[in-house]
Amino acid sequence: MSYNELIKNFGRIRDYMRDFYIGGFKSRGEYDKKSARSYDDERRRLESWLGDYMGFRQTVLGKNVFIAIDSRLVRHNPLYKAWKAKSFTDGDITLHFLLFDILDAGGIAFPLNQIMEKLDTYLADVSERETFDASTVRKKLKEYGQEGLILTEKQGKTLLYRRGEMIKLPSVDLLDFFSEIAPCGVIGSYLLDKLPAGGGHFAFKHHYITQALDCGILCALFNAMRQKRGVELSLMGQCAGEIIKKQVVPLRIFISVQGGRQYLMADYKGYPSAFRLDRILCVQEGECCEEFDHLRDMLDRMQQNIWGVSTRGITGNGGEAGQPGLERVEFIIRYDTGQEYIHDRLMREKRCGRVEKMDAHRSRFIAEVYDSSELVPWIRTFLGRIESIRFSNKKLARRFQYDLKAMYQMYGIIKDGKEDVS
């Protein structure tokens, strides 16, 4: 098939965009899952969509392609462009503009036969193309009806079609903002396309634009949650090309604004489990779940002991903090006079933990969580101030100390196990 800059399915380009944007260090030959032809086509499409954001560098292994975007400088997420590249036929676009032109006048409604007459007249006047058959037009009208673009009403036995209601759009500023920070923000970007260019009054710091790639999955999960339905997830397996299917009840979307990941928290085999959105390939809607409210209540209670997304201890493998499944972490931070902002930092970052001010120069943090290993990266950000630390999970305690020693060695604080006093 000849090259086309538009695409039929979003899935394949999603992988490439993620690879080029997050990694960007692989050469053509390392994209072994797909054919070389496919790689060339996808790369060319991305160049066409993203223009100057695409970069190349030559290495000994070949040419590496990457997407370089400082998300603090861009006002609109460039990755949304991929969502605006859906392929279509000449018939699709012709019918689209003609149907909305026919149904343009305020409140006017026509039956299918009148719409067909108007289409035939238009096409006979202006085009040599054959007209459409009634079943194609009916199918298109039905599709638009399901999307809310066209409304139907019965007049006796006849079905009438009219265009959906127009509403006043919010301001460009509002859409500029929420299209970047709200879930499924690409929908806001679609709305912005309907307004005259302008805005650009907002910038975004700590802005993870890769969420754009998971908007479709997220939307399907929201639909399931709003209807309290179970779903079948198709997930990427560990091996290339492997797909794993799991039946789950979606309960909540967990978003990390510090790590860039989004997760589905879902009931899986009786326990809440987290699934990364970027590992979900497809969501198939299932049956309504009568227990949905109960499962969500259970998650609400559990969240008091979930630091990030892990519920590892819930199955009873933890249990060293006095409660089944919970692990305890406790550390004391020291700071000088004038550095009380360190205590404030603990307060704003403590999540489900507790903070106690011990005296003018020390604060204690305590948390009981299902998986204390999730706290370790955050605890490391206090290195240089940790007076003492205790993990109820002894294996994790050893690992923390071992890692710390490795860091001391790495930066020459100790050499051969001894302190470097130089």
Binding site: L149, G216, I386
Partner: protein, 320 residues
């Protein structure tokens, strides 16, 4: 959600037909609109399709054949998304109404989401003064009009400054808005929640002259840090995503080792230091020397506080 009618081609054709409904459009103008609205190679498809009649909307002289200016109603999905964002507390900052969305089910509600690592001291979006300041600033930014402001400082007093407002910067991590300004040699970035009062500066003053002569956005001093990454415990993927919002470059050195350069604003250096530390022994800063020194200082301080503690066993650590 992935539908052709939201796509760049449909929007481009609508824009061309809108313009062609008033007067004929030339091929050159059509190409210009395609370049503005669609992708680099779209001109190869859209222009011939329109002028050959394959997409039968334009007459040979470049006029629209349609009876009306193209306009598509909002889809249910778009309405449901709008309804959902109207449940967000930050919506109060904008002057807008909900007309036309009665009876529409939101795509999501706040209970469907949990942003689990957002800081707890976010801005007060419901406070009347904060809302007034936000709207005032947005107006001033649109007008590029200088402001006189009193801003709370760390000493518990207020600092007065005359600034040119450039744009608002929002951080999802901090859940705060900051005003980025120019024309003032201190306080280029101002927390909105710290603003005590704002008013417009009268024309003819020094800051007005400055605003007239400086139209560009403020430029921040850039620095870069290079670290070597050892891909144990899935660090490669975690770290590259973690630092994804920066301009960066990653290279594979050999085996599980990678070299990553991250470009950052100088004012964010302390934040970057602790973010590098959070990856433990899996990231080793190799340059610049002063950044290495900042990491080393923290580790040295830590070693003084707790000494060198018991050893453990761990297999997946970087080894030379």
């Amino acid at each position: 959600m992935f539908r052709e009618w939201y796509g760049a081609y449909y929007n481009t054709v609508a824009k061309i037909l809108k313009e062609a409904s008033g007067h004929p459009v030339t091929r050159e103008r059509v190409r210009e609109i395609i370049r503005e609205q669609a992708f680099l190679e779209s001109v190869l498809t859209v222009e011939p399709a329109l002028f050959s009649g394959r997409w039968p909307f334009l007459s040979p002289d470049g006029r629209s054949r349609l009876g009306h200016v193209p306009d598509m109603p909002l889809s249910l999905l778009q309405k449901r998304w709008l309804k959902a964002i109207f449940l967000d507390p930050r919506i109060q900052l904008f002057e807008c109404g909900l007309e036309g969305l009665e009876g529409i089910e939101p795509l999501f509600v706040p209970e469907d989401l949990c942003v689990f690592d957002q800081y707890a001291d976010g801005d007060p979006y419901g406070e009347e003064t904060y809302i007034q300041h936000f709207r005032f600033l947005l107006h001033a930014i649109r007008e590029h009009r200088p402001l006189a402001m009193d801003v709370a400082n760390r000493r518990g007093t207020t600092t007065h400054m005359d600034v040119v407002p450039e744009y608002l910067e929002y951080s999802e991590k901090d859940d705060k808005f900051r005003l980025v300004t120019s024309g003032c040699h201190y306080g280029r970035i101002i927390n909105l929640a710290k603003i005590r009062s704002i008013k417009y500066v009268e024309p003819g003053t020094e800051i007005w002259e400055w605003a007239k002569n400086h139209k560009g956005k403020p430029v921040f001093e850039k620095e870069s840090v290079v670290f070597e990454l050892y891909d144990g415990r899935n660090t490669l993927e975690r770290a590259l995503l973690h630092f994804a919002h920066f301009e960066k470059r990653a290279e594979h050195i050999c085996g599980k080792r990678y070299r990553v350069r991250v470009v950052y604003n100088r004012e964010d250096e302390t934040e970057l230091v602790i973010r590098v530390l959070s990856f433990g022994p899996f990231l080793r800063v190799v340059e610049p020397e002063h950044f290495v020194g900042l990491i080393r200082k923290r580790l040295k301080d830590q070693s003084v506080l707790t000494g060198f503690l018991e050893e453990g066993g761990e297999e997946d650590l970087p080894r030379d």
